[in-house]
Amino acid sequence: MNPTRYLEVYKIQFKNNFVREAVYRTNFLTAVTVDLIWMGVEISLFSVLYANTSTIGGWSREQVYFFLGVFFSSDALFTTLFQRNFWNFSDLVNKGELDILLTKPIHPLFLALSRSMNLTALFNVLLGFVISSRYATSAGFAGGWHWLEWCGWLIFGLYAALQIRFLFSIWIFWTDRSWALSRLYYQFFAFATKPDTIYPRTIRYLILTALPFGFIGSVPARALLYGLKTEEFLAALGVLMAFTAINVFLWKTGLRRYQSASS
């Protein structure tokens, strides 16, 4: 594996996507509007709840808004880099489009997951950052160099989202259509939109292990506000490593099953 070659390919993919986005400029406005409304709805939901109480699961209004900022940024980063590729993932297998990727002198999975980017969503990464920074001080975030830590946790959230989404998509090698599983992913994704401390023990355990949606925004926000215990941090890493191993196994097994078009 030659990292320079991968970097070069990624640069070309990025450039191609940038050119495409520049052509559809109105798409930028509409996509940003949709995301703004989505953020508005999430914030309004908590605003209504906080109009009736001062804390939810031990989190103040400002802490939840800080969490939402982290979550929006993390999710927007995933949308920018991977979301479109996952929408196209089932076509790759069902229509045999994976054939062409298998013939390239580069890992097919790298190509499958980096072909399409939604660069418009980068704007929302910035919006999430603005929300986080607006409530950082009142939420108790230390600031300063800790903003670098904020970026690190964003990548952690991105990696978690990538692994979970992959696990929901890979079954296309065994099923005819995968949109129900994709829809199910987005249904479960709702668990990521709330801080994990508000969940009852069983659900909390679930979203920190088998369905680690809590890793996308909640664990990063909690780590930034309160810090994580070493065993918590190691457990989170362990879960992500286990997900990676399972996904690699399923990808390899799926490829062995793959029979080109209409498989």
Binding site: V34, V41, T53, I56, D176, F188, T193, P200
Partner: protein, 263 residues
């Protein structure tokens, strides 16, 4: 003849939705239980973790009852057939439908509503059975489901009107997405609307969205009198009439711009 094509469209829509039964069940279960779990978690955080005894005059039990009941009606309100209209306009497929001796807006609705009617039937049976256990009235449940079905019509009318923006800007996907997000919050699907602070109550009262989930739930739970219910039915009818007028106007205007070029 008029009834015949409508029945055929209904049958066709139902067959289409249930062709992939496992996916249909996944979709139904996912869209029902995950949002309910999220709602319950919020109440759990407020009351069990936060120690609140009452929020906006509602106890933990009241809110759990609301969640369970609203679950049944939120299954009826959905349907993405307005997106189908938008796509038909964008791609030029609308021309195929214009050649048929049927009203395209009505045809798409009937085909799309078929699975919703089936789900409404299941929810009604479940509601009546659960109602017996919790001492709720069966006839109220039937009335509430009727209101939810009227809400489904209004929801489509709003969507069908917004879909005509595709005549102007080629795509209306984003606008329909925004509409769905707003509906999510203002229909009472996420939280009971009486949790809104008094200064913001006008927000949901000035739209018909509360008739989709919040209204039926209130009536089924016995929080609305029969007189109030009848008044809300009358209001629904007025919204339907208004929606019908909007559809006529927007589609007449849109058709004058339609070029059938596809996109």
């Amino acid at each position: 003849m008029k009834l015949q094509w409508r029945l055929a469209a209904l049958r066709n829509g139902f067959q289409d939705a249930t062709a992939y039964r496992v996916e249909f069940i996944f979709e139904f279960l996912g869209s029902a239980f995950v949002p309910a779990a999220i709602q319950w978690v919020l109440w759990y955080a407020l009351f069990k973790i936060g120690g609140a005894s009452e929020v906006a005059g509602m106890t933990y039990v009241d809110l759990v009852h609301y969640t369970l009941m609203s679950l049944l009606f939120s299954q009826v309100r959905g349907g993405d057939h307005d997106f189908e209209l938008s796509e038909m306009i964008r791609s030029g497929q609308l021309s195929n439908y214009l050649l048929r001796p049927v009203g395209v807006v009505e045809f798409v609705y009937i085909r799309g509503v078929a699975p919703r009617i089936f789900i409404a039937g299941i929810c009604l049976i479940l509601g009546v059975i659960l109602g017996q256990l919790f001492g709720l009235s069966g006839p109220r449940m039937i009335g509430a489901m009727f209101l939810a079905l009227l809400g489904n019509i209004i929801h489509y009318q709003v969507g069908a009107t917004l879909a005509t923006t595709a005549f102007l800007w080629e795509e209306s996907y984003s606008i329909l997405m925004v509409k769905n997000m707003v509906v999510n919050l203002l229909s009472g699907e996420l939280i009971p609307l009486n949790l809104f602070p008094p200064s913001l109550q006008w927000l949901w009262k000035s739209t018909p969205f509360y008739l989709y989930v919040f209204g039926p739930t209130q009536y089924a739970l016995g929080h609305w009198s029969h007189t109030e219910f009848l008044m809300q039915i009358a209001i629904s009818m007025l919204w339907i009439l208004f929606g019908w007028g909007l559809i006529r106007l927007s589609w007449d205007l849109g058709m004058k711009r339609y070029l059938s070029l596809g996109g």
